[in-house]
């Protein structure tokens, strides 16, 4: 290979390396960008049709039934329930926007959630419960003890990425020691609603979407 030819190959490889690095940086940025922070209900919302368990902690997972990123969250929930299922009353609420039929919510995510022992799966009609609890991003977990919020956030390390995370570590810490370094974690997932999330100071006063 001639010197000029070598230079051409080197230049080609340098441009290639930069282009690929830029692609990976964009991918990382996307995967590590959490959903917007919203004020999650600090105490169990009175209008909610769900009832908090009296004898153990209640874990709520709000999910968009079509969100591919939430597949990793369901997988993490399965791991969590396998170890700490006896300490939790777990619910997965699949968002069902107005006009969404059964086929919209009955996805592989629904089936995966149903297969997890000890987990109750529900359709959240019109996203009413998500609005009552102040949740706007698919994959958000809210953990309540005696009607008081202990933790809220995601349980994956990135968007659609399995593996341990700050959120999961904090939930485990709360379940095993009763305390955690922080009460929240970033959530990575699709938006539950087309509307901008409602940010309120006190979640007891949240207004369900459609009744705002």
């Amino acid at each position: 290979m001639g010197r000029a030819s070598q230079k051409t190959v080197l230049a080609l490889c340098a441009v290639w390396a930069l282009a690929v690095a830029a692609g990976f940086v964009a991918l990382w940025k996307y995967k590590l960008t959490p959903g917007p922070e919203t004020a999650v209900a600090t105490s169990w919302p009175r209008p909610s049709k769900l009832r908090a368990a009296g004898d153990r902690d209640t874990l709520l997972l709000f999910a968009h039934p079509q969100c591919a990123c939430t597949r990793a969250t369901i997988s993490e929930l399965a791991g969590l329930m396998a170890h700490y299922g006896d300490r939790l009353d777990a619910w997965v609420l699949f968002d069902a926007p107005a006009g969404a039929g059964a086929e919209f919510t009955r996805t592989d995510l629904w089936s995966s959630a149903e297969r997890i022992a000890g987990v109750h799966v529900l359709r959240d009609e019109g996203g009413a419960e998500a609005a009552r609890f102040g949740i706007s991003t698919s994959g958000t977990v809210a953990l309540y003890r005696a009607g008081k919020l202990l933790f809220h956030g995601g349980i994956t390390p990135a968007r659609g990425h399995e593996g341990n995370s700050f959120g999961r570590e904090r939930i485990v810490s709360l379940l095993t020691t009763g305390k955690a370094d922080r009460a929240e974690a970033p959530v990575f997932g699709c938006a539950l609603s087309e509307q901008e999330p409602v940010r309120v100071a006190n979640a007891d006063h949240t207004v369900p979407r459609g009744n705002q």
């Binding site: 990976f24 990123c69 597949r71 390390p157 990135a158 539950l192 509307q195």
Partner: protein, 239 residues
């Protein structure tokens, strides 16, 4: 010049010819292996690209916002970043097969494919086996520096992600400082055996080339001697 000196010079010249022939055979065989492996990887790159696009389209076709959907970034990443990763190794494999730069670019590209597939499958543990499979596949070159290049890409990826996003590498958010040694240890374990295997294969290839050259020289010598005898016999018969 005495007969003895002439004989020694002839022997030396014959030995040099055998050494040169052995070197030529060795280089020819290496080139065959490099080119063949380049071709294999060029096909694999295209296969991985197609697989990644299919995977992204099946597993995560859309991102959602309520009832509104848009094409998921994974699909674009599989098409564009996957295409970018494939492009240079494929181009070099097709236009410059057998060259040093080609196989090192392929090693980089192959390990980048591992990283991309891990992303596209949501960090599944099973996809991490692609890293070790790729390192083993790179050993097809029987050229140990190629494996070092591949391992260096893995190390760089681990180093950067270990700093910026430790959960994606170690599975926990706050890994102990020594945790990277555990991961590096397994890569070094795999790579050291592959390097030993490459060096042994290379040595065997050289021995085979030398034996082949010796056999060729012997057979040529035998053919030359038989030709001389044939000519002598023909002369005798003609007389």
């Amino acid at each position: 010049m005495s007969v003895a000196v002439k004989a020694i010079e002839n022997t030396r010249a014959a030995l040099e010819a055998i050494v040169q022939r052995a070197e030529e055979r060795y280089e020819k065989r290496r080139q065959e292996i490099f080119r063949h492996t380049d071709r294999l990887f060029s096909r694999l790159m295209i296969g991985q690209w197609a697989f990644a696009v299919l995977l992204a389209w099946v597993v995560s076709p859309y991102a959602w916002q309520g009832m509104q959907k848009t094409i998921h970034l994974h699909v674009w990443v599989a098409v564009l970043l996957g295409g970018a990763i494939t492009s240079v190794p494929f181009y070099l494999a097709r236009t410059r097969p057998g060259e040093v730069a080609t196989r090192h670019a392929i090693a980089v590209g192959q390990m980048l494919w591992s990283a991309l597939l891990i992303h596209l499958t949501g960090g599944r543990i099973e996809t991490h086996f692609h890293v070790f499979g790729s390192l083993a596949f790179l050993a097809f070159y029987r050229d140990w520096p190629v494996i070092v290049t591949g391992a260096a890409v893995v190390a760089t990826d681990h180093f950067l992600r270990g700093i910026l996003w430790p959960e994606s590498v170690y599975g926990i958010a706050n890994p102990e400082w020594w945790r990277f040694l555990e991961h590096a240890g397994w890569v070094v374990f795999c790579v050291s055996f592959l390097i030993m295997s490459c060096r042994k294969s290379d040595k065997d290839m050289r021995v085979m080339a030398e034996r082949g050259a010796e056999l060729e020289a012997l057979s040529e010598n035998a053919w030359r001697n038989s030709s001389v005898l044939d000519r002598a016999a023909a002369d005798a018969a003609g007389r």
